[in-house]
């Protein structure tokens, strides 16, 4: 008879403990608060009501969530489409230059969201930035500030996620087996075609998972929409902050956050299921 050993299972307590302290605990509290009753004159009252969730299904929050999903999807697509070829080119360089680029990308990552956002605000302002340069060059007659706008916000978001995606692919791309690409090239396939017909298909699952990762990452951005976007570009994170922090409506803020979380979990779950099916095929 095999004896049940406790010791190896005890080690599982460590991640469980960490998860409980840093994630599950606060999460449980958030779920509890989302059922509390909002007290418009004060804070909240301990209760069990569904009305905070009911509010989500008004046209306003509904349209804000659709907007968040659409912007995050677009930004993640743009980021991966820009960062993947970039890092593909970088890993083809000599070791020394690769190092320079990787250090550059790491440096970009250590800048805070606020610094990147503010840099773009200045770059896009009519008094100091790109519009002024274009005006000075005579390319733009009446230069106007480019921010706040949806484009400005997307640019800000992409610059936030670019190095993340690039560095995510760096180990995979630099250690990849180049035999198939070399074979294709030997047979006379032009490099661009090799990239699209060979490299991209090989990395399809990794690309898909980076798209999902970035999508979830962008759902939570707060600084870029507020600094570079107009009110019509503000996403769910901004609205949640407004409700919870500015208007002291914790229950509604919590309920909206729970809805976002459920949506994200469903999305990741759906993705995991889809890739597993594909793997089984």
């Amino acid at each position: 008879m095999k004896r049940f050993a406790i010791a190896p299972h005890l080690i599982g307590l460590y991640p469980l403990g960490m998860m409980t302290i840093f994630f599950l605990g606060p999460l449980a509290f958030m779920v509890v608060v989302s059922f509390y009753l909002r007290d418009p004159l004060g804070f909240y009252k301990v209760d069990f009501v569904w009305e905070n969730y009911g509010k989500f299904f008004s046209s306003f929050y509904y349209s804000v969530s659709l907007r968040s999903i659409w912007t995050s999807a677009l930004a993640s697509l743009l980021t991966v489409a820009l960062a993947f070829p970039a890092i593909f080119i970088i890993v083809g360089m000599r070791r020394k230059w690769q190092l320079v680029w990787v250090i550059g990308l790491l440096a970009l990552m250590c800048l805070s969201e606020v610094v990147i956002g503010f840099a773009w605000v200045i770059l896009m302002s009519e008094s100091a930035g790109i519009p002024r340069l274009l005006g000075w060059l005579g390319l733009w007659e009446n230069p106007r500030s480019l921010s706040p706008s949806r484009l400005a916000m997307l640019i800000g978001m992409v610059s936030l996620g670019f190095s993340l995606v690039a560095l995510m692919f760096y180990p995979q791309l630099s250690q990849r087996d180049r035999a198939i690409e070399e074979a294709a090239q030997t047979l006379g396939t032009p490099p661009a075609k090799v990239f699209f017909k060979v490299v991209l298909p090989i990395f399809r699952p990794a690309l898909a998972s980076s798209l999902v990762t970035m999508f979830v990452f962008y759902l939570g951005v707060y600084v870029m929409p507020t600094m570079l976007g107009r009110p019509q570009d503000w996403n769910m994170s901004v609205i949640i902050t407004d409700k919870a922090v500015e208007q002291a409506n914790m229950p509604l803020g919590a309920a909206l956050a729970v809805i976002m979380l459920v949506f994200t979990v469903l999305l990741i779950g759906g993705f995991a299921l889809a890739t597993r099916k594909e793997g089984a095929k």
Binding site: P40, F43, S58, A128, P148, P231, W234, D242, E246, Q247
Partner: protein
């Protein structure tokens, strides 16, 4: 962040003094809005209080109104007071009062509060709970490079040529609802009903083509106004005046309908252990001399009776104004809070 760092330094210094066995004076922690405000109060105003009473002041920065209320509420649950005194807006004052966050104050212990204008010692059936600290104006600011003459009426927000470059605060309680009600609907009565509020919001929506930025962060608007990125908008008079003294091409104008006047109050969090010292502090801050000094160094409007202060005509008109002010209708905002905030946000984000 500065506030936090400052706080930590203060703790370290106090700790050292204690270790050295030095006699420790009583110390109170006073929180106010972070940045220039808190720094100036700490540097220019509080030392006078310490000199008079021997009570040390530890000055800390507090976050924006509602975020601070959230922190105060959580702290009160743990029977703690993050500060012994705090500067709060009237909306926070009302909310905090409902949930019993403020300690009771004794007007007898604060004789100087008699020098304040009427209605500035806040009391209800359960007693006194707050004393006005200062007032501040929001005015019609313009970039003088774009437009030299000052606007006469708030109506010019709608009718003036701003080249699509106005900057307005995005918060529902910024005063724009009240400006619109007074300018276009003859007063606040229209705000009593939801239909009326919707009419006011629809009127504000007409501004949208002219508004380049609905600002959440004051710094972003101010910088843009100074550089000509924006041609006009609503902004805090005191900060605008500081910018003007720095030589920026800005004008801050009280339109004929009046500027928007807001008050800030001193409150003592319920769990503070320095109630008596805190009342001495409020008493000191209510003195006309101190009120006048605050007007000079901070540019805020004093809450003491004007005739008791030694402010010259010029000094007074730089910080305040005798026109009937426009007042944010806090009661309506509290009553219709969620509905109103959603309607407003829907309007600006559509």
């Amino acid at each position: 962040m500065t506030g936090m760092f400052r706080g930590m330094t203060a703790i370290a210094v106090t700790g050292l003094a204690f270790a050295a066995g030095a006699a420790q004076a009583e110390e109170i922690t006073v929180s106010s809005w972070g940045g220039f405000f808190e720094e100036t109060l700490a540097a220019e105003i509080y030392p006078g209080f310490t000199e008079t009473t021997g009570i040390e002041v530890r000055s800390i920065a507090q976050p924006a109104d509602q975020a601070w209320l959230t922190q105060l509420t959580s702290a009160a649950r743990a029977k703690k007071a993050p500060a012994d005194l705090s500067l709060v807006s009237d909306e926070v004052l009302a909310r905090g009062r409902t949930i019993g966050l403020w300690a009771a104050l004794d007007p007898q212990a604060m004789p100087s509060t008699d020098f304040l204008k009427d209605g500035f010692v806040k009391a209800d059936d359960d007693g006194t709970f707050a004393v006005a600290a200062l007032s501040f104006w929001s005015t019609f600011v313009t970039n003088t490079d774009f437009r030299a003459e000052a606007p006469e009426s708030w109506a010019e927000l709608w009718t003036g040529d701003w080249d699509g470059k106005l900057g307005m605060a995005s918060a529902v309680n910024s005063g724009l609802l009240e400006i619109t009600a007074v300018t276009h609907f003859g007063g606040y009565e229209i705000m009593e009903t939801r239909e009326g509020l919707e009419q006011v919001i629809a009127k504000i929506a007409e501004l949208k083509p002219n508004v380049r930025l609905w600002y959440r962060d004051e710094g972003q608007f101010q910088q843009g106004l100074e550089s000509g990125e924006f041609n006009g908008g609503t902004y805090f008079h005191d900060v605008a005046m500081l910018s003007i003294y720095d030589g920026n091409p800005i004008a801050s104008t009280f339109p004929k309908e009046g500027g928007v006047l807001s008050d800030a109050y001193w409150i003592v969090p319920r769990d503070s252990k320095h109630g008596e010292a805190a009342q001495k502090f409020i008493d000191y801050m209510s003195q006309p001399v101190v009120q006048a000094e605050m007007a000079r160094v901070l540019g805020v409007a004093p809450v003491a009776k004007r005739e008791l202060m030694d402010l010259t005509e010029e000094e007074f008109s730089a910080v305040s104004n005798d026109l009937e002010p426009i007042r944010v209708q806090t009661e309506i905002h509290l009553r219709e809070g969620d509905w109103l905030a959603d309607k407003y946000l829907e309007m600006i984000s559509r």
